[in-house]
């Protein structure tokens, strides 16, 4: 079987006070190679937990995950991860950060240099190769994080709110960049976001999760990502299906939040 298969995955956290949290319950999902999947859901519905399991940082209490037929058990460079912030190595400059993965594998330096130059070009940081991380803005740092992940040529890229800490304008540029990279490299990308618009723009498939227990609530197949490649994203937002879909999902999440609040009060 090719692609990423999530079979009946559940995750229960035992709490120190004796209780437990069902962060995920019976998640089933098949993701084809090259798909761009966005995941949306109210806070605490298990998005990060799911991504950590996919990355191999956590073992699910139940269920199994396959990537191209192999069971996922621990982190590996086939599954790259882009974090919200703070995961770059600030004691290295931009090039060294990007070349970290290949270097760990013992790739010859000349090859690493070539790869780094190419990636700097893709993320638009040609002139910043020798800058230190703390000299870069938040948006630039996320470009470095993306490039660092791509340097390993992973099968799947996992992103946990990668653009969450950026301002609106920078965010829009980065959204275009993600679409570009997706198209250029043909990678499978799973992206968690809190922004409904971002989920619509960056998801061929959009998965809405619901909390308590964390589960898949609804799935959409959307045209916007394909349309958005190389196009003006503001144009896409004026697409006649964009607005109604956004409102529908917003309502859905709003209701879930209401329900949580109601439950918490009673």
């Amino acid at each position: 079987m090719s692609g990423l298969n999530i079979n009946d995955v559940s995750m229960t956290f035992e709490l120190p006070n004796g209780g437990s949290v069902e962060a995920l319950k019976n998640i089933n999902l098949n993701i084809q190679k090259g798909e761009l999947v966005s995941v949306l859901g109210p806070s605490g519905c298990g998005k990060t937990t799911l991504l950590n399991i996919l990355a191999g940082f956590l073992a699910p209490t139940d269920g199994i995950i396959n990537l191209n037929g192999e069971v996922v058990k621990k982190p590996s460079s086939e599954r790259g991860m882009v974090f919200q912030q703070g995961a770059l190595f600030e004691w290295m400059n931009v090039s060294k950060n990007i070349g970290f993965g290949p270097k760990m594998k013992g790739t010859p330096q000349s090859e690493i240099d070539e790869k780094v130059t190419e990636l700097l070009d893709i993320v638009g940081l040609q002139d910043f190769a020798d800058k230190m991380i703390y000299e870069m803005s938040g948006g630039m740092q996320q470009r470095v994080a993306l490039a660092r992940c791509l340097a390993n040529d992973p099968d799947v890229i996992l992103m946990d709110e990668p653009l969450g800490a950026l301002d609106a304008l920078t965010r829009e540029k980065m959204q275009s960049l993600v679409l570009d990279i997706w198209k250029k490299t043909g990678k499978t990308i799973i992206l968690i976001t809190h922004s409904v618009e971002e989920a619509l723009l960056l998801g061929e498939r959009l998965i809405v999760m619901a909390p308590r227990p964390g589960r898949i609530h609804k799935e959409y197949n959307l045209p916007f990502a394909e349309l958005g490649v190389g196009a003006d994203l503001r144009e896409i937002k004026r697409h006649k299906k964009f607005g109604p879909t956004r409102d529908e999902i917003l309502n859905m999440i709003w209701n879930m939040e209401e329900e949580i609040m109601g439950r918490a009060e009673s």
Binding site: P75, F83, A87, F89, W91, C149, N152
Partner: protein, 462 residues
């Protein structure tokens, strides 16, 4: 109620031997402290007055010419903004100058030219006394006083007694700031009963009273002797505090000839080399230990009791034990410094490892790093800022500890030099030693800070 408590207190006092301090002892302690508050406050106030004066000079003569430049000058909110507070160079220089000024003033330094506190009286002076013997007869005598400096040994001219009655003329020499006692017998009393001094320079005096004779004062003691105190001035004696220029001269001499056959810089070298060796040993073992404690439950548990126990024990408290174990040789001192540095470095390295952002660890693993690579390429560099902070603290502690250890037992070293000099009351050498110890401690700190900003520029910007 009291009855039920008494057996308990009794059994406690059987167990602990603790003599309740007397009320007067405690009161003495408190009153000393309160007097110190006044003393300290006065010193502070004088120093602050100087500071204020310097500030006025700076404000009206210097500041107006050099306007602040850069980003800070554009800030409208600076009070409370920590980053806008930088040490004013003028103030620092003025404060050091003020300290030297006070030093010179207190010691009557010639560097200050005409600005001098009254100096003690030196040279010849005299006064006249009137004595009355047991028959009520009166006679006058003269006391010639020769006041000389600490190091002088002048010859004294004998007093001329060819013309006098029963009250003899006498000549005595006194060191500056000291007193001389002239008993009744020495000035001609046959028997002390009934012999009384009744006037000094014509002014009547009775026992336990003082009379000023111009260049000093005479106190008539309860036994009828004259205690003569030439005017002591307001400056300090070189024995307590030598003048700056004298210290400088001794420094030049010390620099050239050393003290007790050991050169000044040889002493400093020995102290420094001990610090460097002890500190290096501490790093060599402390950093791996800290890493082990940061990475493994077992090692954390195994070493936690020792580290947590040893951390609050000041290294100085170990000196006696170290001397008992190792004697006064080098091994003891290096061991002491090793122990001083070890716990600090262990705790710093442990904090560095524990402080690594979990995202960085996750990122490294999903970029294909092995455990060993993670340790060397992520955890180690990530903990460098903490380790460096620890190293700075450890160096400071080691420097203080080595001096203290040398005070107790050493053959060479900065601490040894000052303790040896203090035994012969060579205050100038003691002061030179203290200044050099201070300067070197400061230099170590500055070097460490420079190295830090060089080696780990990302510190605090992660």
């Amino acid at each position: 109620m009291i009855n039920s408590i008494t057996p308990i207190t009794a059994s406690i006092s059987n167990f602990f031997w603790f003599n309740m301090p007397e009320g007067s002892e405690v009161a003495g302690l408190l009153s000393t402290t309160i007097w110190m508050v006044f003393g300290i406050a006065i010193i502070f106030i004088i120093y602050m007055i100087f500071s204020a004066a310097s500030w006025v000079i700076h404000k009206f003569f210097i500041d107006s010419r050099n306007k602040a430049k850069g980003y800070t000058s554009l800030k409208t909110v600076t009070f409370g903004d920590e980053s806008a507070v930088v040490a004013n160079r003028f103030a620092s220089v003025a404060s050091v100058v003020a300290i030297f000024f006070f030093w010179g003033l207190a010691t009557g330094s010639s560097l200050l030219g005409p600005i001098q506190l009254p100096a003690p009286f030196l040279g010849k002076t005299s006064f006249e006394y009137t004595a009355e013997d047991s028959y009520g007869k009166r006679d006058k005598g003269t006391v010639n006083l020769l006041v000389h400096t600490f190091n002088d040994k002048p010859k004294l001219e004998k007093a001329d007694n060819s013309m006098s009655g029963f009250a003899k003329n006498s000549a005595i020499k006194v060191r500056e700031r000291r007193t001389a006692l002239l008993s009744a017998k020495k000035i001609g009393a046959k028997e002390t009963e009934g012999f009384n001094i009744i006037e000094i320079n014509g002014q009547p005096i009775s026992r336990n009273e003082k009379i000023n004779f111009g260049n000093g004062e005479v106190l008539l003691t309860s036994k009828g002797s004259m205690q003569i105190r030439p005017y002591a001035g307001m400056t300090m004696e070189a024995l307590y505090l030598p003048a700056p220029e004298d210290v400088w001269k001794s420094f030049l001499k010390l620099n050239k000839e050393g003290y007790t056959n050991v050169g000044l810089w040889e002493n400093v070298f020995w102290s420094l080399i001990r610090v460097i060796l002890g500190f290096s040993l501490g790093c060599l073992f402390g950093i791996p230990l800290g890493f082990a404690m940061g990475l493994s439950n077992w090692f954390r548990g195994w070493f936690d009791p020792i580290v947590e126990f040893m951390r609050p024990v000041p290294p100085l408290a170990l000196i006696p034990l170290i001397i008992i174990w190792f004697g006064i040789g080098e091994q003891g001192k290096i061991s002491l410094l090793f122990l001083a540095a070890l716990w600090i470095m262990t705790i710093a390295a442990r904090a560095g490892v524990s402080g690594v952002n979990i995202s960085k660890v996750h990122a490294a693993y999903s970029l294909g790093a092995t455990k060993k690579q993670l340790l060397l390429k992520v955890i180690l560099p990530n903990s460098l800022p903490e380790i460096f902070t620890g190293a700075r603290v450890a160096m400071g502690v080691c420097w203080g500890t080595v001096v203290a250890a040398e005070l107790v037992a050493a053959e060479k070293g900065a601490g040894k030099m000052i303790i040896a000099a203090s035994k012969f009351q060579l205050t100038d050498i003691v002061i030179i030693g203290i200044i050099i110890i201070g300067i070197i401690g400061f230099a170590i700190e500055v070097l460490m800070r420079k190295a830090e900003s060089r080696l780990i520029p990302w510190k605090g910007r992660g």
